[in-house]
Amino acid sequence: MAYRELINKIFNKGKEKMEDLEVYIESSKQIEIKIFKGEIDKYSISESGGLSLRGIHNGKMGYSYTEKIDESSIDMIVNEAYENAKYIDTEDKEEIFKGSDGYKEINSYGEELSATSIEEKIDLVKKLEIEALSLDERVTSIQQCGYKEFDKSRYIVNTKGVDLSDRLNGAGIYIVVIAKDGDDIKTGMGFRMIRDISQIDYKAIAKEAVDEAISSLGAKPIRSNSYPSVIKNLVFADLLDSFISVFSSDYIQKGMSLLKDKVGTKVASPLLTIVDDPYLKEGFIRGFDDEGTKTTYKKIIDKGVLTTYLYNWKTAKKDGVESTGNGARGSYKSSLSISPTNFYIEKGNNTFEELIESIERGVYITDVAGLHSGLNPISGDFSLSASGYEIIDGKINRPINQITIAGNFFEVLNNIDAIGNDLKFGFPNLGYFGSPSIKLNNISVSGE
């Protein structure tokens, strides 16, 4: 490993002031391509990374980081980590982990992706744009059409024996189209996560985006009321993502999650099972977390009953349990936190059509906006700008927009009436979130 010598020097210097030390390095390559009107609007390439040091002084953990990964930074990061440790006064003990037994052999690096030439990737994005523009004359322009690829290596080395590294890559392709009919303007989006370019059906992505935009032309609000509803799989996956902190032991321990003291009790409809699976084949496979703990498959909610929170070692120690392998560093700039791996709702028995057919008068919600502001993970309350379709007599009747849906996440979990079999994953964030389409007994809609 290229960093070995540097790490040894950091440890030697750090040992003068601190007891245990750990270096976390991320190095990543990125490619980004954006196409506009058949031309490369933006082409971006990069190789970058950062190194974080954490160290224990008098039982307290201090952190520092640098993006200048060379010897000139050693004094700075050692001093900063030491200085930062001095002022920690929380009683929750954070330790450097000694490592797990028996890490699983896994391969999270796709050779196909790195072997594909940049020209082929550019060509694919160009084809996607042309296809989307050709499908319907009401599609007047493309708001975004692009490709993003990452190739990220991770190194965790500490003075207690952990010495791990892995490499993960992936890519995504996306398009947002604009459709116009007179003064009426609507947008539609399509995207895929990519492991192997040759498997990508760009025509299907274009069609998804165009269908969404065209079918929402003419949308109008619906009367304010409480309606039975179907929430689109990707929208529910986003909701799960936005409320993830309620499952975090850190938030529980700080008194900031209403799931406190709820392990072993019913917190959701018996139809609901939520899984955190680090080995999910279609997901992002990780054999160890950012503390070097072996990752494990686990159910978080099993048929409506809460089975565990997500833990790292700091929070596990406080609760007298083992880490669940969810220790996370958002990046080398972040201190240790908690994050899921591949986190999803298990699919149910109903087809999407059956969910729609089961509603006499209701709404199908296909898009929400304002997830970063319109919801409150502490109370569970949310109120989100939304759009979708009205359902009448088991059929999709007309597009609706300029409405909000509002409710409480914990009530929603209990309100689940049926779960579709169309499990789908959204854009990866800190974790990778998936859900099937979900039918709710009712949701509060504000419109006209």
Binding site: S48, G50, M76, I185, A369, S383, S385, A406, S444
Partner: protein, 463 residues
């Protein structure tokens, strides 16, 4: 940060396959974050961001590359790799850098990094005590302290060479109120382009009490009813209305591609004649103020809308080229990892004639949004949303009761026409704005104002 000869060699390498313009952006930034939870310091992170971004513009296309390794050898390699996307003949460059004179809008008295951590932590504990002891319903308090010192060097093939240093300090408190198995939160986080002297300007105990006041008000509040009603937005962070409803859609990135609702509307009446809006990157020590933008162009005061008429867009160099218009000093980016694009600095609505009491008393039934939270917009459609952190129902011209959980939605073009009262006490708030070129500090503000009718998304209630 890099010597002139190296810069010249890198820019030459960037144009080795042609192109019209090349630029180098060097960033060295020191960050420090301290987090206090429940009275105790839980986290203390500091470090250094360091890297170089290289941009090539060929006609209307942009190639961008960045790296952490600033040796001349590596920078030339990266520049050539970026250039390999082009197929033209090499350009023979003779550069004569003119170092830009810079007006300093952000004088700094005390560099935050020169102050010992203990002083910062004492302030945090003071803020915590004030927030925690505000009321017995306050169950948890989190205090965050943030300081950053960002030095940038920008040079390009037009001969520009500019350097700037941006110092920012922020202090925020989040309070949680618990009652009968329910929890609500309130937060308040003032910040400025100032050094440690910022704490002479703000009172950390008041910041703490303000966060707790909101949390307490909201834990006693009923759900907000749904429906279309007049909405009064108070000053300071109320400016998120204009930021989302209109500001983003005025960014040249959307205008130049014809994908904004404001495309081709310069000189037209697009808002109520009561409305005048400005984006100003030169307001002394304000959160979104920088002396130059991240392309080296001096920032300006840009009059966007005057008495309802659209006067200007927010323009960066590349989109300016697309539109055949000059940069308005609005090219911004989070860091060297992002190519710059048109963004806002400090955006606000100018003050009018009414006062808040008049606005409330002339509203029969409606919502008074005292504190707003973040929001978002789709610039193609103009559809926006934002959340109300602290709201009150108005009945017969009087504040009836607190309500929570409301989101406001609407359409940018329509809402600007529906502003029918504008207050006289303007003040600014501080936010982080996320878009194509990353997350940047943005100031926003307004006087209190009323929108005649807006869709309020609450939960069905008895109102």
């Amino acid at each position: 940060m890099l010597n002139g000869k190296i810069i010249e060699n890198v820019l030459c390498a960037a144009l080795c396959k042609g192109g019209d313009f090349a630029e180098i952006f060097v960033e060295d930034k020191y960050n420090s974050n301290i987090k206090l939870v429940g009275g105790l310091i839980e986290n203390n992170m500091s470090g250094r961001d360091y890297g170089v971004g290289i941009r090539i513009i060929d006609k209307l296309n942009c190639i961008y590359a960045f790296t952490n390794d600033s040796t001349e050898e590596n920078l030339i390699k990266v520049a050539k790799e970026a250039a390999s996307a082009l197929q033209n003949a090499s350009i023979d460059l003779k550069l004569n850098f003119m170092k830009s004179d810079i007006t300093n809008y952000n004088p700094i008295k005390i560099m935050p990094s020169s102050v010992e951590k203990k002083k910062k932590i004492d302030l945090m504990k003071k803020g915590y005590e004030a927030a925690k002891s505000y009321d017995s319903v306050i169950s948890q308090v989190i205090v965050n302290y943030l300081e950053e010192e960002q030095s940038v060097l920008i040079a390009n093939t037009e001969g520009l060479l500019a350097e700037d240093r941006r110092v920012r300090t922020r202090f925020s408190v989040g309070s949680v109120a618990s009652k009968d198995g329910e929890m609500q939160q309130g937060s308040y986080g003032p910040g400025a382009s100032m050094g440690f002297e910022f704490f002479d300007k703000i009172n950390v105990e008041e910041v703490g009490r303000e966060a707790s006041r909101i949390a307490k008000a909201m834990v006693y509040a009923d759900h907000c009813p749904s429906g279309v009603m007049p909405v009064i937005m108070d000053n300071e962070f109320g400016g998120v209305l204009f930021h989302e409803a209109c500001g983003h859609s005025l960014e040249a990135a959307f205008i130049s591609k014809g994908t904004s609702v404001f495309t081709d509307k310069l000189g037209q009446l697009v808002a109520s004649p009561l409305l005048t809006a400005i984006d100003d990157g030169t307001m002394p020590n304000e959160w979104g103020t920088t002396n130059i933008d991240d392309e080296g162009t001096p920032t300006k005061r840009n009059l966007l809308i005057e008495n309802g008429v659209l006067k200007s867009y927010l323009i960066d160099k590349l989109n300016g080229k697309r539109m055949n218009m000059e940069s308005t000093g609005s090219g911004r980016r989070q860091s060297y990892k992002f190519a710059p694009t048109s963004r806002m600095n400090n955006t606000y609505i100018a003050k009018g004639d009414s006062n808040l009491d008049e606005i409330i008393s002339s509203t029969e039934n409606g919502l008074y949004a005292k504190k707003l939270d973040g929001g978002s917009v789709n610039p193609a459609t103009g559809d926006f949303n934002f959340a109300v952190m602290e709201g009150y129902l108005i009945k017969n011209g009087k504040i009836l009761k607190p309500v929570r959980g409301a989101t406001l939605i609407g359409n940018g073009l329509k809402v600007l026409e529906l502003i029918d009262m504008v207050g006289n006490n303007l003040s600014l708030g501080q936010g982080m704005c996320g878009a194509d070129s990353g997350s940047i500090p943005a100031g926003l503000g307004q006087p209190p104002l009323r929108v005649k009718s807006l869709t309020v998304g609450g939960r069905m209630g008895d109102e």
